[in-house]
Symmetry: C2
Subunit: 159 residues, 2 copies
């Protein structure tokens, strides 16, 4: 276990580049979203899902599965969004313990205004400045890494 195998120069550049890009990009996107639309990244994801759902309403646990959020987080975030009038929560008629979240007109208005802006941000920061080859490479890398992480997660789940 005391055989570190440090990164060589190429690996170091790639790794540091990835980490730095990750931080800067997340910060940029979140700030843009927040200042232009008054939404956080989390708000955006919730509203995006909700706006695509038929009738604009979903059971929270379904939302949680898609977003891969813990239920506590989701519950709290929905509470805040409800307070801001982006979303409503009503008791579910078919399951007495459950709820049903619906997007409000206000929420829909915000997400519909925010979405094109967000895409423009993605273009401005990343997409429009990479070559087709780089886009392909990025997609492949994302694929690979996510597969690795999923495998590592599974192995942890069933010892």
């Amino acid at each position: 276990m005391d055989e570190p195998r440090w990164l060589d120069e190429r690996e170091e550049r790639a790794w540091r580049g990835l980490m730095a890009m990750q931080v800067d990009l997340a910060e940029f996107l979140d700030r843009r979203l927040r200042t232009r639309s008054g939404l956080s990244g989390a708000d955006y994801e919730v509203l995006a899902h909700l706006s695509e759902a038929p009738e604009g309403c979903v059971r929270p646990f379904v939302l949680g599965r898609h977003l891969r959020w813990e239920k506590g987080r989701l519950s709290q975030h929905l509470g805040r969004m409800e307070r801001r009038g982006l979303v409503t929560r009503d008791p579910c008629p078919t399951d007495q313990r459950g709820a049903i979240v619906a997007i409000t007109p206000r929420g829909r208005g915000l997400i519909e205004a925010a979405a094109p802006q967000h895409v423009a941000d993605a273009r401005e920061a990343v997409v429009d400045h990479l070559t087709p080859d780089q886009l392909e490479a990025l997609a492949a890398i994302g694929e690979t890494v996510r597969a690795r992480l999923a495998a590592l997660d599974e192995r942890r789940a069933e010892p």
Copy 2:
């Protein structure tokens, strides 16, 4: 402004891949660090910088510049780290208003144990599973994106 220009399929794959990888990877690294070393990502970065400094001590504002953290954040985080005995804060002899942060033996022990683990995590999740070409591509992409973000930031700074 109502000309969205949505992403085509290639762009969409790359963008979604990047976003998903970003979330999963951050979560993975942070969890590994936390469960194996009891350190958060933020702790790790602070201790890494401190352990590389001569004498193991630095002025907070220097630390802040390198990490690109806001000063409030840094101050609070150092407070928490001090409470946990990872770090000490003493008044600076040459500047009466300032402080000087030093890593404790306990902090040094933790970071020295954590660092090889962290590199191993980086390998396990990413580095070891990409080809040299992909590593090059990743470095170049990171470079490009960071340059873009820096340019966008500058433009905001001086209208």
